[in-house]
Symmetry: D2
Subunit: 351 residues, 4 copies
């Protein structure tokens, strides 16, 4: 049974992977590594894990990263995995990274991303020579390549909904000018575990806060991917909104169409596009945030304007699952030749 | 001290008006009328009014509507006020209506609205001859006419944010093709007091539910008003979303511009446009849902895309105040020659 | 693979059982029966089940109840299962009932319960002769009897937390006068799927509403069980509070002790009492509502007053799992000789 | 028009006072003082104050405290006001303090409080000689003394509900043994503006977290006050619970009675006790958290056990108003001879 090492194990991203691995039939947890809470048992840090996981968190010192495991998951911020990438790949160790470090195949695309990112800027990439060994980890689009890739760049949470929600349209060249406007609504957990004014309960409860209008870095990977699908341009005008809820992202995506379309026709197109992809459900009704909560599903539906010239696609995911750990688990399953649904059968928690 | 009769007094719309009148220096409540809870004291229906209002709700029988008062407020669904309109105007009694009955100056516009409305359809208007005596009640645009109007059609909650959020652009002809895409996020209270599956707590809590995509009837009054401002077309592609929160509407509005613009330039334009209008605040930061909660403010801000070709305007209101009762109170103040802020000084409740 | 028929399949109680059976390695769903939504596919009623369950809901007509299955689960209100009990037991069909119909072994105890219940009163019991064949379904106390019982009366949601949270104390006769005061905090889902004013989102969001002070019927089964454990009296003074949250019950239980105690001593006692019971976790820190959300755990902790004379025990459960469907599943596992954790491995959903 | 200086102006306590003073007919804000955000305009710190207050926050340097004003409000943590008390009282400047510094008339009582407080311990009091010049600020009990007092120790938020909810019983000696058990449910805003793990949205949303069981320092002032009312003992066994909501405290208080009582009899007693006190409302139905939200009311009701031997009193307040700034404003009104309701007329915000 292959063992996975989780780096950044005490953040929400690491926690999500711990929970999935604990319930996985084919993987085990090799070790937990994190700077925060190093030396503590994980069930002390997260009491809801009591009786389920008693591992002690190790500090990321010496040669601990990549040691005693079969794969490494970096549930860490931008800039961490690139520091370990050369040593790991030299040693033949594969890894999945949650950050943007390996989502882009070349330095030009990475630079666009880094430039949009609030904390990277022009700091460069410590492992630029390995960028082309990283595979952007959207299993529904790149499953074949993920199977073989030494490095997986797991997508950003907003990018998942936007890419899956628009891929069938871009792949068919149906978006006028390649231009879409997207409003993304996200729960607070995407910002992680660290307290901050924006995530302070008294501020966020019952609130909606638009932020980083036109400038969110996840747009870059969405545009790159959608443009490649269409062979043309992709311009995503994106406004993220932070909601007073814990989990979930609902993306509402507007576009003019290159020619008239019907709702049924487009729904058919979506269903064909995602045929055989167990985590995308194309619904007849608008997806809801809670309809995917706690599961790895991406629920999608759409409506067409009365004159057939425009459409709105809507996609719902749990930002911590299909938007992060669940998608990473799906990638791990592909990398190790397991069924991609292994360990990911959990239904949405409703009501 | 003029007395106001509230018809539909036991719904949230009526309650909002009760609360405002109780704190108003110039008006008093003449009587409360409603079908639901008729015969009960209002502080039994709403215990939070204990010690503040002990009026008994009257049934809408016989000649009670318009009797013993100086103005009538219809906090009622579509179709109610039109049945009383002729008698009231014949008697010289002015009224404010919360529904769409008198928002449109002619039957063609009303028919477009009725057609989009989920329950009116082609039922016609019982007082079509009086449509031209009704004034659409957006005080920031039509203050002069509101002062004299015998009938005020108070705007729909979504329309308030969209109209105020886009008026400066349309007035200057800056919106390319007159086309905007709008995502509206609303709290549950806009749906009123009556329990329903969509408003059931277990369903709505932590949820986001898109609904009536492309077909919400409030778009009609927004398009009519914005087109009149620009002298051209206005096409509002609108997706309302129901949120798991009680109060508030945040509207995010996207448009391509007819020419390049800067954020500062547009903010200046907005500030000039709303100069002298005390309830519109043009902010330097994105408005938040909670920033207007419990107040009559409409907070607006905007961002421009890096290339200056597109903009996003965002507007926040409390749907039960600036989106309903507060705006109606503002209209009442204008109609009776009071300062339009009278009784509306309440600050947002934060945190 | 034994098949379970769910009666009342379209309520939250039935839904919970559907979800557990879908993920269960040893059971399958034989059929879904309900009055509401009969004739519809269950994934139309609950879109989050899309791709997971396509069964059509059958109306409870003719001989459908108990037909084509190995066990029946009544996820129905009080009074339903008692009407089918004789026919089912005559046919040798075992069943689990979510209501109070079979929680009490004799008519006197049932009468106390019925009297406290808001809708039963003195209506009597249609299958009183079968009361002694029913077993109150608390697996941690009555596991041996559950294995053999033809009828299981699954406990009320509030009773689960109170009984488990106090059992070690009553079993040891440590509660002064057998008297406890309990404040119970419950999410809204315990009230089920049907819209009502108290469950209306705009009313309940951000609210806390005490109700049925001193009179909730779940107290009866708690008092019966605790008294039997201690061989003395049990008086539970209980105040339920409805919270603006969807799932979970936190019970805070206060008692004077018959003699001085220490926190460590009592925690040890609790740990011994629940040794071997996988769904009760005795924590060193106060349990939280969210610490059990989505799981079948009952988390318990306690504190002792500085002088050692009093204690507070706190218990958290997910009201729809350990408080309802999860506990019923645990009973089903025992009845069919499976590991009691089968199909119940889901971790709490945190954050 | 007297001017009030607010020290600690940028926390939630200071903000509450700013909002009340802005709407007050008799007071004005003299100046805002705070360590955090000193040098910034208050409407930058809190954008919801835009157009309503443009004062710049001053740092608490040199002689700024007490300068240019008629009264000082310390919206500061324990230990702050005691450092300024001598200088202020020497200069004849009265002040209201939100902390526990001046809630106790002698060092013994203060020591009990300090000992229970998580951060004071045995640090002593810097102005112990002035303790007897401080008046505990519960207007409903000590209105006459508040009028004249040079220093007001505004009560702790939990203490307000407990004291008002139990005062009529203790004053009549009706509580058996003077012993009550209290569960307090509080919104998050009581913990202030500073981000922390417990107040992190993703942790607190949908959660209930018991904390400081048996040890919360607000119990001390409640016990002191209730014991003085009864002339006997008062033992408050208290469990605070943090809820996933922003504002409000609901206290549920259990007691055995010294003799049999009826609900009507006790409600009458409560109504007489609070006659003439405009902010206490004795309701016929259980108070709700939302029934007082945004107002200065304390809503109280009670139930008696079927045998008449026990009762449960329930009290709801907005923790930031009647539990803090609103109560302080009430004290200020009394101190300056204004109607105690001046500036406090705001109705609860419902729904």
């Amino acid at each position: 049974m292959p063992g996975a090492q989780i780096v950044g194990a005490t953040g929400y991203g690491g926690l999500g992977m711990i929970e999935l691995l604990l319930g996985h039939p084919e993987f085990e947890i090799a070790s937990l590594v994190a700077r925060d809470d190093a030396g503590r048992r994980i069930d002390e840090v997260y009491p809801h894990l009591t009786d389920r996981c008693e591992l002690t968190v190790q500090a990321p010192v010496d040669d601990v990263i990549g040691s005693g495991c079969d794969v490494v998951i970096f549930a860490t911020p931008d800039g961490v995995s690139q520091g370990y990438a050369a040593a790991l790949t030299d040693a033949g160790m594969r890894f999945v990274d949650y950050s943007g470090d390996f989502r882009f195949g070349d330095t030009a695309a990475y630079a666009r991303y880094a430039d949009a990112h609030p904390s990277i800027g022009d700091a460069g990439h410590d492992a630029a020579a390995l960028l082309d060994r990283g595979q952007f980890g959207v299993p529904e689009l790149f499953g074949d390549r993920i199977v073989e890739a030494p490095i997986i760049g797991n997508p950003g949470c907003f990018a998942v909904g936007i890419i899956l929600g628009l891929a069938p349209l871009f792949a068919a060249g149906l978006v006028e000018g390649g231009t879409v406007t997207v409003d993304g609504l996200t729960g607070s957990s995407g910002a992680g575990k660290k307290p901050s004014p924006l995530q302070h309960f008294s501020h966020l409860n019952d609130n909606v806060v638009p932020y980083r209008v036109f400038t969110h870095q996840h747009v870059v990977e969405a545009e790159e991917t959608l443009a490649a699908l269409s062979g043309g341009e992709a311009n995503v005008h994106f406004v993220p909104h932070l909601l007073g809820t814990t989990r979930g992202i609902l993306s509402t995506m507007h576009a003019a169409l290159t020619g008239p379309a019907t709702r049924d026709g487009l729904l058919d197109r979506y269903r064909q596009f995602f045929d055989g992809h167990p985590f995308v459900r194309v619904l007849d009704v608008p997806p809801t945030l809670k309809g995917t909560l706690g599961s790895n599903y991406c629920d999608i539906s759409l409506e067409v304007s009365p004159d057939g010239s425009r459409m709105v696609a809507m996609a719902s995911i749990d930002n911590l699952l299909k938007g992060q750990s669940g998608n990473a688990m799906q990638n791990l399953n592909l990398m190790f030749g397991f069924d991609q649904t292994a360990g990911l059968g959990r239904l949405p928690l409703y009501p």
